[in-house]
């Protein structure tokens, strides 16, 4: 169920973002909505469910990029796996902590994406592609704050009340 909800949400958010970016005329600033979803999966989903969902969300981002390269599919699964380790060191509870966690995930995601893009294109140094990162990370943090209640609601709707038959 988490898988279907994640994919449907990713599809809806990416479609909405592609339209809003067009209307706002933003050439560089983007919100990494998929990172927010993957961060949530890392905190709340089981290994198999989360990995498959992260793979699908990354695949969608790859597809929406126009020139799919499999890079974002790999990065989504990688961020999910690394993100699963975080709660063993730090407690991530509440909207603000989730926003900070998503921002940290976005920093890692952007750095790795820049590195791997530079690895294949090798036009400029990887640093030249990071100019837009602070704005992007800030926007992703805001998106995480806004999406947290929605994600929690979806999660709560999937939790079955404990009863005598269970």
């Amino acid at each position: 169920m988490k898988f279907l909800v994640s994919v449907a949400l990713a599809l809806a958010l990416l479609t909405l973002e592609s339209v809003l970016v067009k209307q706002a005329g933003l050439e560089l600033g983007r919100v990494d909505v998929t990172v927010v979803l993957v961060a949530f999966l890392a905190l709340r989903a089981t290994l198999m469910e989360g990995a498959i969902s992260a793979f699908s969300v990354g695949y969608l981002l790859d597809l929406m990029s126009g020139q799919p390269t499999w890079l974002y599919t790999f990065l989504a699964v990688f961020i999910f796996l690394v993100g699963r380790l975080v709660p063993t060191f730090v407690e991530v509870r509440g909207a603000l902590a989730f926003a900070l966690f998503s921002m940290a995930a976005d920093v890692g995601h952007s750095l790795l994406a820049s590195f791997f893009t530079w690895l294949t294109v090798k036009e400029d140094g990887p640093g030249s592609q990071l100019a837009e990162m602070p704005l992007q990370v800030a926007l992703t943090g805001l998106a995480a704050l806004a999406l947290f209640p929605l994600l929690r609601r979806f999660e709560a709707s999937q939790e079955r009340p404990a009863g005598l038959l269970r």
């Binding site: 599809l11 339209v19 970016v21 290994l47 981002l61 790999f74 699964v77 294949t120 294109v121």
Partner: protein, 286 residues
Amino acid sequence: MWSLLKRYYRPLFVGFLLLAPLGAFLLGGSKGRGPNFIDRAIIAVTSPVQQGLTSAIEGAVAAGQNYLDLRGVRRENDALRLENLQLRAAVQALGESRMENERLRKLLNYAQAEPGPEIPARVVGVNPVAKLLSVRISSGEQQGVFRGMSVVTPDGIVGQVIRATGGYADVALVTDPQSRVAVRVQRSRARGTAAGTGGGPLKLENMLRTEDVEDGDLIITAGTDGIYPPGVVVGRVTNLEKKEHGMFQGADIVPAVDTSKLEEVLVVGSPYSAMAPGGTAEGASK
């Protein structure tokens, strides 16, 4: 062996989900991949939603804008009348030049290039990944749009089709860091390359130091890259840097088209498959 697989199938499967895309990316990711049936199905579902949302937002904005526009309409009307007079005079002068050009072409038995089809399309969305600057347009294979065709507006060059499916296509913008266009200076016919920088001005590259270029020169496509038709406006030269030594001079090109505010575009030229001997347009989709 089977019991081992049964025991560790979870970490093995997750490892596959992690490493399979990494391998695919490292082996050929930079070239992109053609759309498969899953891609086509997802694009078929999301693109009409993108188009609907775009139309709804634009409709609402236009309704508000119409009211505000009415206020300054008289002053604008006067300015437009004046501009119209100037343009009519310019059109007459151009008509004379065109007739003279046709006479001279006939005189030289010059072969006239066949203009290709011009397919109109609306921009329905922008790709959500900032590292690849591309937009989605509302014409695809059904309308005759295929990978490799060029995309322009009446103001100038926009980009190149990188993927086409049923009724939609994705266009890599000329400002994308991976974009390269063969160009020439309209005034002096000097040749060079316009390289995308990821937004803002393009970079003028491979322009010999001895070539005649000046700030403000109009840059047009050369047509030698086999993608963009010749003579389409790219932009104007700015920040010209004539070095004392070295082979090339550098400059920026301010694009003629603001790619962040695109609405309608035209798809022109030939797909990749048509450039290969014996190729057909249908082959481009495969």
